[in-house]
C-alpha cells in the first residue's frame, strides 16, 4: 500500500490509462452488441452464427489477440488500439448473448400490447423491449466491465500501459509492493465500476424492484 502513496503521480497516471483502455471497449462493444443481440433474438439463423462465433472469439487468449491485432489491422505496435480492439471483441462476444437473452425474455403479452397500441417497431424497441431488457443487459455489462478491467493488464506484456506496467516492472525488479499496488488498483477499479453499474441499473429500472 505504501508504494501507492509514495508514487502517487505514477499510480494516478497508470490508473487513468487503465480506465481508458477498459472503459472505451466496453462502450463500443455495448453499442455494437445491441443491434447484434437484437438480430440474434429475432432470427434463429443469426443466433446459429453469432453465438458459436462469440464463443470461439472468447476462447482466443487475450495475450494472443493483443499481439496479433497490430499485424491484422496494420497499426503501430505500441498503439493503444491494440488493446482496445481485442477487448471490444470480448465485450461484444459476452454482450451479444446477454442482449439476445434479455430481449427474448420480454414477455410476449407485453410486446403484443405495445403492438396493439400502434407502436412502430423502432419505437417499441426503444421504449418497451429495450427498457424491459435492461436488468439482464446490465448484468452482462457488469461481467464485461469487470473482466475488461482485469484483462487490460495483459497489454503490459507488449509494452502498453495501465496497471499491468506495475506488474511487469515489479516482476523484473523483484518488487512485490509494486505488483501488489497494481493488483489493489485493479480490484478497487473493478469493484467501483461494478457498483456504479449496479446503481445505474437500479436507477434506470425502478420497476424491477417494485412489489418485492
Amino acid at each position: 500500500m505504501t508504494w501507492i502513496f509514495e508514487n502517487w503521480d505514477r499510480f494516478w497516471e497508470v490508473t487513468g490509462v487503465h480506465l481508458r483502455l477498459s472503459v472505451v471497449p466496453v462502450l463500443i462493444g455495448f453499442v455494437l452488441s445491441i443491434p447484434l443481440g437484437w438480430l440474434a433474438s429475432r432470427s434463429a439463423t443469426a443466433r446459429a452464427i453469432l453465438f458459436p462465433l462469440a464463443n470461439i472469439l472468447f476462447t482466443i487468449p487475450s495475450i494472443a489477440l493483443i499481439v496479433i491485432t497490430p499485424v491484422l489491422i496494420g497499426v503501430k505496435i505500441l498503439d493503444e488500439i491494440n488493446v482496445i480492439v481485442p477487448l471490444t471483441i470480448y465485450t461484444i462476444a459476452l454482450m451479444v448473448r446477454s442482449v439476445a437473452d434479455a430481449l427474448s425474455a420480454v414477455p410476449g403479452h407485453v410486446t403484443a400490447a405495445a403492438n396493439a397500441m400502434g407502436f412502430r417497431p423502432l419505437r417499441r424497441f426503444l421504449t418497451v423491449d429495450f427498457p424491459l431488457a435492461l436488468p439482464v443487459t446490465i448484468a452482462g455489462l457488469r461481467v464485461a466491465t469487470v473482466s475488461n478491467i482485469s484483462m487490460v493488464s495483459v497489454g503490459a506484456l507488449v509494452g502498453l500501459g495501465g496497471y499491468g506496467q506495475l506488474f511487469t516492472e515489479g516482476y523484473q525488479t523483484d518488487n512485490t509492493a509494486k505488483v501488489f499496488a497494481g493488483l489493489i488498483g485493479t480490484v478497487v477499479l473493478a469493484v467501483l465500476a461494478d457498483g456504479l453499474l449496479l446503481l445505474l441499473g437500479r436507477v434506470l429500472t425502478p420497476w424491477a424492484r417494485a412489489g418485492r
Binding site: 487468449p61 495475450i63 499481439v67 482485469s150
Partner: protein
C-alpha cells in the same frame, strides 16, 4: 501464415506442439479438479443452508476482478519458479464461476421438491446429495464449463513466468517476432478450448437427468 503450424519439425521433440498441448491440457484439468474440490462444497453448503449467500456472491465478484497476471507474478516472486504459481493463479480464476454456479443451482431447486424430500424422511445430507445437487447439476456444469473456457484461455499467461503450455508458442513467437508461431498458439488454444468444452458437454449429457435441460454461462479474465 499457417506454415509454422504445419511444419513437421514443430510437432516433435521436448518442445514440440504435442508436448505443449499436453502441458496445457494438464494445467487445465488439474486446475479444474482443484477448483471443483474447493468451490463445489462451499457453494453447495452456502446454497443449502442459505447462510452467507452474499459472502459467496461478493467473494466471487472480487475474485473475478483479480488480475491473473498479478497473482501469477506475486506467487512466483514469493514461492519461486515452477508449476505451483500457475496453479494458484488459475485455481483462483476458476473458483468464482464454479462456486457461483453451484450456489445458484442449489438455490434454484424448487423448495417444494426439497420439502418433499424432507417429508419422506431424508436427512439433511441426503437432501443435499440426492436431491439438491442432482437437480442443480445443469447450473453447476454451466459454471464449470465457463471456468474451463477461462482456464484454457488464461493458462496461456503461464508461459510469461517460464512455464510450459501453448502460451510458450505465443510468448516465444512474440519474443522472436514470429507471427506464424503466435498465430499457431492462439489457434491451438481456441481449438483446445472448444474440444474441452465438447468433452464436458458430453459428460454433462451422461450425468444429468434428462428431466433437466442444460444451461450455460460464461465469463473471462
Amino acid at each position: 501464415m499457417g506454415g509454422w503450424l504445419f511444419d513437421p519439425a514443430h510437432w516433435s521433440g521436448p518442445t514440440g506442439i504435442p508436448v505443449r498441448l499436453l502441458e496445457h491440457l494438464g494445467y487445465t484439468l488439474m486446475t479444474l479438479l482443484i477448483a471443483a474440490v474447493i468451490a463445489i462444497p462451499l457453494g453447495a453448503f452456502v446454497g443449502h443452508t442459505g447462510k452467507g449467500g452474499f459472502v459467496v456472491v461478493g467473494l466471487s465478484n472480487a475474485l473475478r476482478a483479480l488480475p491473473t497476471t498479478a497473482v501469477l507474478i506475486l506467487v512466483v516472486l514469493w514461492a519461486g519458479l515452477g508449476d505451483f504459481p500457475v496453479y494458484v493463479a488459475l485455481v483462483l480464476l476458476a473458483i468464482p464461476p464454479i462456486m457461483a454456479g453451484t450456489y445458484a443451482g442449489i438455490r434454484a431447486v424448487d423448495p417444494v421438491t426439497v420439502d418433499a424430500a424432507r417429508g419422506v424422511g431424508m436427512r439433511e445430507s441426503g437432501v443435499l446429495l440426492k436431491v439438491e445437487i442432482p437437480n442443480a447439476l445443469p447450473l453447476i456444469y454451466g459454471g464449470f464449463r465457463g471456468a474451463a473456457l477461462q482456464v484454457v484461455a488464461t493458462a496461456t499467461i503461464a508461459a510469461y513466468t517460464g512455464a510450459g503450455g501453448l502460451g510458450r508458442l505465443v510468448f516465444d513467437g512474440l519474443a522472436l517476432q514470429e507471427f506464424g508461431q503466435m498465430l499457431a498458439g492462439a489457434v491451438l488454444v481456441a481449438l483446445l478450448a472448444v474440444l474441452v468444452d465438447l468433452g464436458f458437454a458430453g459428460l454433462q449429457r451422461l450425468t444429468v437427468s434428462p428431466g433437466l435441460r442444460p444451461v450455460g454461462t460464461g465469463g473471462k479474465t
